[in-house]
Structures are given as structure tokens and as C-alpha cells.
Symmetry: C2
Subunit: 196 residues, 2 copies
């Protein structure tokens, strides 16, 4: 292992009803305008954008050295709603160092963690309060809010893992989660491109 920077111990609070981390160092906000081409129903997205650039999700980050040995920690808050039949979701990403895992410990809400490996294997795991999801190395991951309230998780991943958003932006996830008869259903993504 390379040199690892020394830091002081600290603690922080996580509000399970809002996902707000106190103190936090960064707040990332993703709106409908940031998710170009990621929702299946592009006409529905355009129509929504004419009314409001809706906030889809937020990430509160605690800053530590971005190095292996340290652990990155954040909360992820995905708001309830749909674009057409498709539930609000995060962009989803691989780690830049693809062989690194992530743990999502769900604090509130109802949803699905959609995961897909570089080989095209996929799995959907339920997210609900008191449930934690192990996103293994090599798996892209996206939080999808299928419920009526914010979907909130505490996330931990290795320092230095980095984020690769581009692969998902250009190739998509193999599976989408869409509402059908009032319930979430997993369907094939007609635009998905294999990475192999």
C-alpha cells in the first residue's frame, strides 16, 4: 500500500429523516437537467423540464484524503417521483478503480439498488430501512426510489475508488425499473449497449 495521509479522528451526525450530515464538506445536487438521455421517456423529461428543473437526488460528502486505506463516506438522498413510468434515480456509476466495493446502509424509504457488472451480469436488491446492500467490486450501481418518501442511504467506499459516470451515460443499465399497474417492474432497456 502506498503512503497514507494521517488525519485526526472525528465524528459526525446523520439525520435519518433528511440524510443531512453534520458537519459535511460537500453537497452535490443532481437535477433533471443533469440527466440528459438517462431516462427512457425523453418526451416526458422535456415536458417536465419546461415546468421545473426538479431536484432528483443529493449527496452529502464528508471529506477525507482520497487514498486507499481511507474510507469515503456520504449520504445519498433520492427523492420520490417519476419521469414517465420511470422512477427517479441516481445517474449510477462504476468506480474508476473498478475492483472496489461499496456498502449502502438504507436509513429511510423504499427502493431498489440496481447493479450491473462490466461483464453484463446484473442484480436488483431491495432498499428499505434497516437493510444494507453490498455492491461488490466490478459492479456499477444506481439507487432507484420506488416509494413515496425520500430514499436515504449511508454509503461507504474505499478511498481512491473514484467515479466513472461516462460508461453508464453512454451505454446505460441493462435493466430499467418502471411503474406498471402501480407497482415497480424490472424491464429490459432497449438502448442498452454491452461493454464486452
Amino acid at each position: 500500500m502506498e503512503h497514507v495521509t494521517r488525519t485526526d479522528p472525528f465524528s459526525f451526525s446523520v439525520d435519518p429523516s433528511t440524510g443531512i450530515v453534520t458537519p459535511h464538506d460537500n453537497l452535490i445536487q443532481r437535477r433533471l437537467s443533469h440527466m440528459n438521455g438517462m431516462f427512457m421517456d425523453q418526451a416526458a423529461r422535456e415536458a417536465m423540464l419546461e415546468v421545473e428543473d426538479t431536484l432528483l437526488y443529493e449527496v452529502y460528502e464528508v471529506e477525507v484524503p482520497d487514498e486507499a486505506g481511507h474510507l469515503m463516506v456520504c449520504t445519498s438522498i433520492t427523492y420520490p417521483g417519476k419521469v414517465g413510468r420511470e422512477y427517479f434515480m441516481t445517474k449510477g456509476h462504476f468506480h474508476e478503480k473498478i475492483q472496489t466495493a461499496e456498502i449502502y446502509s438504507c436509513l429511510r424509504g423504499q427502493g431498489i439498488m440496481m447493479m450491473e457488472s462490466d461483464r453484463g451480469d446484473w442484480k436488483a436488491e431491495p432498499m428499505t430501512q434497516g437493510r444494507a446492500v453490498y455492491v461488490p467490486p466490478y459492479y456499477a450501481h444506481r439507487s432507484i426510489n420506488t416509494g413515496q418518501e425520500p430514499l436515504i442511504s449511508l454509503c461507504v467506499y474505499p478511498g481512491g475508488a473514484g467515479h466513472d459516470y461516462a460508461t453508464i451515460e453512454t451505454k446505460g443499465f441493462r435493466k430499467l425499473v418502471l411503474e406498471k399497474n402501480g407497482k415497480p417492474e424490472i424491464e429490459d432497456n432497449p438502448k442498452w449497449k454491452s461493454r464486452i
Copy 2:
């Protein structure tokens, strides 16, 4: 980064009132008899042992490959009680790869995370529901239950970090947490040995 083993995604539940992980792979139980020489008041420990080999803490582990890139996840449950004036606590350990961090997300109870670096720097952080502690690289760490109910945390640390219990067993923590006038107080450990 070396080769990282592929595993399937999975999820598990964590009961915040008991700390039980479902499903789990290992359950570690530490009793008074396992903590020889770790509590200050050895006579009080001997007297307690004659009555019962009390359960001090438990660790529920989820098994993933013990390799950098993966993340180890477990719950830690320290029960309430005292040996003489000293609160029930975990053995405490450095990581074998000392330059690896750990995150404790507290789910229930009241306590203190006592941390001490290889250089003898120390810090105590409060543990309570909704609070998380960042144990940085190079820091030994011990959970101490200063409350009336179980002290329960969800813990995440890098795969391959390993455990070094021997250093604490032989040299101790610099600071002890003892009850004084019904409240926890941090005091010097007269038996502490410097590591430098």
C-alpha cells in the same frame, strides 16, 4: 491493486435494537474470561468471574473476500456494565495493515470510541444513535459502553486490513474510561506503555 475476487451482489438486514445481522456468517462472543489483564481492577474482575463468565460484547460478521477492494462489514454490540469503576468495552485493536481506516455508525446506546495512534495521539468521540465515528488510518480503537443499554454500531473497514490485538493486550490504551460520581471520566492508564 492486486487481483480482486468477483462475488455476487447481496443484501442483509441489521436489527438496530439487537445488532443481529441476517443472514450473517460468523458470530464472535467475548466474555470476561477473554479479557485477561485488560481491565484496571483485576480483583473486581476475579470476583465477577467467580459468579459468572459475563458476555461483554458480540460481533456479527458478513463474510466477503478479505482483500483490498472489498469491504468488511459487521455489527459490534457492547453490553452495559462495569468491572469495578471501568465500563464494559471491547478489546480494541489496531489493524494489521495499520494504514487502514474504519467507520462506526452507531445504531443504539451511549458510549465512547477511544482511539489512539501508533504515535500515542489519542481522541475520544461520542457514540450515540445517528452519530458516526471516523477511525483514521494508524489508530487503534475500542468501543466503551457508558450507558444502560447495548451499544450497537455498524462497522465498515477495508478488506485485507486484518486485526492486531497483541499490541493493545501488551501495551494498553493511554486513557481509560471510568465511572466517577455516576458519570464517565477519562483517566490516565497507569499501566500504559508507549509504542515509540
